[in-house]
């Protein structure tokens, strides 16, 4: 019996399918990692260093352990396995034992019956420190005469790029130095985990909010001295990530406390602790010199990028590579001499955040493009168009750009979008810069327009095989998917069923618990999950489809190669057979697992040459701002953007990524900065670290440029990072345009405008 449902829109690829977890999230019934609870559960808490750099002389837990309700207190000596962890270099102690190298570094963990008991126990631990002078400047870290603050030294990585003719010169030379502040990911769902020890103490189960279950599993198992399979991870609902959940935070501590006490243990950071508990976006300084012809064509770039990686390595070396390999921006450049350094200091550790090194590079190269426009007298849109990179061009790494590169369309479509109406003479006070502060005077407000254009690599680089795994099971017309892909809010749980519906002609698609009971999915980062895990789901569904066609073919005596899916039916493409997938898969179960790998990449050589990236996406942003030049306040009025997305698989999800990314880029442009002085974090709270609110949200005009990329599994490029990259320089350029001031740092502060 064939039933057709063609009158109903099916939630296939290309449709704005709704989130399967959406209603539960609006009702508060969706379980975030902080919502898990267990019988007989203890609370865990972390003791952290108040000093950015100190030698630990002694730790006395005798008073703390006697507090009623305290079950255990763990120190470095209680770690049974590896004493350190890290994503690339294992240089960060589970608990500091000899030195503390940043403010907030963990020293001990306590488990007790109540969060308040934990707090009292932490207060009762007595530590004697020999406080040392922290290393807090990049220049000092680069100075070989500065004593090392870590056995691995003070430089995480130096990478030179030497390409083409180092002696090439242009008719015009433009120089600039750009500074980027330390941004926090500021996801709303604080770090939280619940660990359940196995009854025999030989294993542990951890429910945790993370970006990459299998990487956590590996690092935890090493520290616990357990085989990987004894450490089972399940994804607790993730309240945003943006890079901050790539590194280990409370995972090892929670497992250790649970194994030591034999009871379930929950850990949950406060907002202040979260600022110390995860890595941030690298602050840095970039010096750039462009040589151009009189016609504004780039001849050579020279310069340096110096990133402050803070106390431990995290992903600093990879962030640096992304930064230096994107320093040319989305522009042709035949010659380059560029040096990048990522250094260790006693500042907070920095690592992944949306944009991953390209945000920093873009702020500098776009600042330069505006300076080039001014120096050559060429319009700022025209100077960019004149230099844009195309598919087939060679980049400064020697890598040939193979991705589809519709950059000209991105720029032209952005330029064609309407500008906002001029501010009236008596605007609503909340539309003025300063918002609810209501101090701005209309007479002091000047409007400015600025541009930013960028390219961003997709997936991991430098030879890393960040594959993804998915399983598809078809039975009686419905599909169950299994993957370990972290759903952090981006909507993979919406997309994966859309893929299955498109490939298999089914409507009912569910997904199993996201955990380590299947192969790795890689990290939810680098704009990679639509491509990688999407590719894995697509592959698994295609394998199942082949098996279904074999089954139908043998039942009906038809060569399976003649069969195809049409809507929800299996059809014979050169015959008359048409049966529903439901009917075709009745009493038939088939399950296939597929591992998707992207093409291989290479390490860079000592001159920064090599095919190190997989693919690229492009985007243009135009910002319109109103600036109160007297008070230094900025209101971002409108952002227009055209983004190269390859193919739109879910328009509403893409819109959400673009609008959300723009808000984060706006934050970096005008408000968000972790203030660190002498290694001390001054603003670890939402009162003092300012985030964009509803009143700060600009009008956003979006054009999605669809030119499917033949290298992408479904033609779709990742869309997560591009929105937040060039919007920051566009906003800062608009502020320069409004004020006439040369502002070469972000975030832009009132004093940068007024003084």
């Amino acid at each position: 019996m064939t039933t057709r449902t063609t009158n109903k829109q099916r939630d296939v690829l290309g449709v704005s399918a709704l989130r399967p977890d959406g209603i539960a999230k609006t009702q508060g019934t969706f379980s975030f990692s902080s919502d898990y609870t267990a019988d007989n559960m203890l609370w865990g808490a972390t003791l952290r260093s108040p000093h950015p750099y100190a030698r630990i002389i002694s730790i006395d837990i005798s008073a703390a352990i006697k507090i009623d309700g305290v079950e255990t207190i763990l120190l470095s000596g209680d770690v049974p396995g590896k004493l350190t962890y890290g994503l690339i270099a294992s240089d960060q102690p589970v608990f500091a034992s000899d030195y503390v190298r940043y403010m907030g570094e963990p020293i001990a963990a306590v488990a007790a019956d109540h969060p308040e008991t934990c707090r009292r126990a932490l207060d009762a631990i007595v530590i004697h420190y020999e406080v040392m002078t922290p290393l807090t400047s990049i220049e000092d870290a680069l100075n070989p005469n500065t004593p090392s603050i870590h056995p691995d030294g003070n430089v995480f990585r130096h990478q030179r790029i030497l390409h083409g003719d180092a002696n090439a010169t242009g008719d015009i030379i433009v120089e600039g130095e750009y500074e980027i502040g330390m941004q926090d990911q500021a996801f709303l769902g604080l770090e939280a985990a619940l660990a359940y020890p196995d009854s025999d103490g030989a294993g542990v189960e951890l429910v945790v909010a993370t970006q990459w279950l299998h990487e956590d599993q590996k690092q935890i198992a090493d520290c616990l001295a357990m085989p990987k399979e004894k450490v089972r991870l399940q994804l607790g609902g993730v309240g945003g990530a943006f890079g901050a959940r790539e590194d280990i935070s409370l995972q090892v501590h929670t497992c250790l406390l649970a194994l030591r006490t034999g009871r379930p243990v929950k850990m949950q950071y406060t907002r202040e602790e979260s600022f110390f508990g995860h890595v941030h976006r690298h602050p840095g300084v970039i010096a750039l010199k462009h040589h151009v012809t009189n016609e504004g064509r780039i001849v050579k770039i020279e310069g340096t990028m110096k990133l402050d990686g803070g106390a431990y390595a995290s992903t600093s070396s990879a962030v640096l590579i992304n930064g230096v390999t994107h320093i040319q921006g989305p522009y042709k450049c035949a010659n380059a001499v560029f040096d990048g350094y990522a250094v260790r200091t006693n500042n907070p550790p920095c690592g992944a955040m949306r944009g991953f090194g390209v945000v920093q590079a873009c702020f500098a190269h776009e600042g330069q493009m505006d300076k080039l426009a001014a120096a050559t007298g060429i319009d700022e849109v025209e100077i960019r168009l004149r230099n844009i990179i195309h598919t087939g061009d060679t980049m400064i790494t020697g890598q040939v750009l193979e991705s589809v590169a519709p950059l000209e369309r991105c720029i032209r479509e952005t330029a064609a979008m309407p500008l906002p109406a001029e501010m009236g003479l008596q605007p609503h006070e909340l539309d003025l810069p300063g918002g609810s502060g209501r101090t701005a005077d209309r007479r002091n407000i000047v409007r400015g327009i600025g541009w930013g254009v960028s390219m961003k690599n997709l997936m991991y680089s430098e030879g890393f095989d960040d594959y993804s795994t998915a399983r598809c099971t078809l039975t009686n017309g419905s599909v169950e998917l299994k993957f370990a892909t972290s759903e952090v809010g981006q909507g993979f749980v919406t997309l994966a069923p859309q893929i299955a519906r498109s490939v298999l002609g089914v409507d009912e698609v569910t997904y199993d618990t996201i955990d380590t009971q299947i192969g790795s999915a890689g990290s939810t980062s680098a704009s990679r999950q639509t491509w990688m895990s999407g590719g894995a789901v697509d592959g698994a569904c295609r394998m199942v489809r082949e098996r279904l066609f074999e089954h139908v073919g043998s039942l009906h005596g038809i060569d399976p190669l003649r069969l195809a899916i049409d809507d929800t039916d299996v059809i014979d493409t050169i015959g008359t057979l048409r049966i529903s997938v439901q009917e075709a898969s009745a009493n038939f179960t088939v399950s296939e697992t597929f591992e998707y790998h992207h093409r291989t990449t290479e390490d860079l050589d000592e001159n920064g040459q090599g095919n190190c990236h997989v693919a690229f996406a492009f985007v243009a942003h135009r910002a319109v701002v109103d600036v109160d030049v007297e008070l230094g306040l900025v209101k971002v009025v409108q952002i227009a953007t055209a983004q190269d997305v390859g193919r739109v698989l879910n328009p509403m999800s893409v819109t959400g990524q673009i609008e959300g990314g723009i808000a984060q880029g706006l934050g970096l442009a005008v408000m968000e900065e972790i203030i660190v002085t002498n290694g001390i974090v001054r603003n670890p709270s939402f009162t003092d670290y300012l985030l964009p609110t509803a009143l700060d949200a600009p009008q956003v005009l979006i054009s999605m440029i669809e030119e499917p990329d033949p290298q992408a599994p479904m033609g779709a490029k990742g869309v997560g990072e591009a929105p937040c990259i060039s919007v920051t320089p566009a906003i800062v350029a608009a502020i320069r345009n409004a004020t006439g001031k040369s502002i070469d740092r972000c975030p832009v502060r009132p004093q940068d405008i007024c003084f």
Binding site: T26, A186, F187, L190, G240, G435, T655, Q664, T687, V700
Partner: protein, 163 residues
Amino acid sequence: MSTSPEMYSLRVNGTEQHVKDAWIGESLLYVLRERLGFMGAKGACEQGECGSCTVLINNDAVCSCLVMAASAIDTDITTVEGLATTETPNDIQQAFVTEGAVQCGFCTPGLIVAVHHLLETNSSPSEIEVKEALSGNICRCTGYGRIFSAVQLVISQREKSVS
């Protein structure tokens, strides 16, 4: 806890809830979540900046992290769980999903309560009034655009159903 335990009751979503063995310093957010199992209110800053923990006390929208639980005795507390049944989400909840206003969803329950409160007090707010009313609820994922769309959808649907 070694401190002397307290026993009191709170009226949550119209039902008396007995709070046993509590420490007097516990916030309403903690008691709702950890003692009474109302997990809809979320803690994200614990200093009244982000709005994730928004609940209604006597129909005023408040940050439950800033309210001592014991001070909410004899008030009417409404959490997101009290706005609709699990089986039948209300029009605001449905609009948030339909318009793509939910990504990670951590801010969502607080926003649902805030939007409910706004539309109870002002059934046809202007665009800027919506922005102002929601400016105490931080969302880090969406950039707010889809949230504004969801609110506009509810307003227009309610206007239609009235006319």
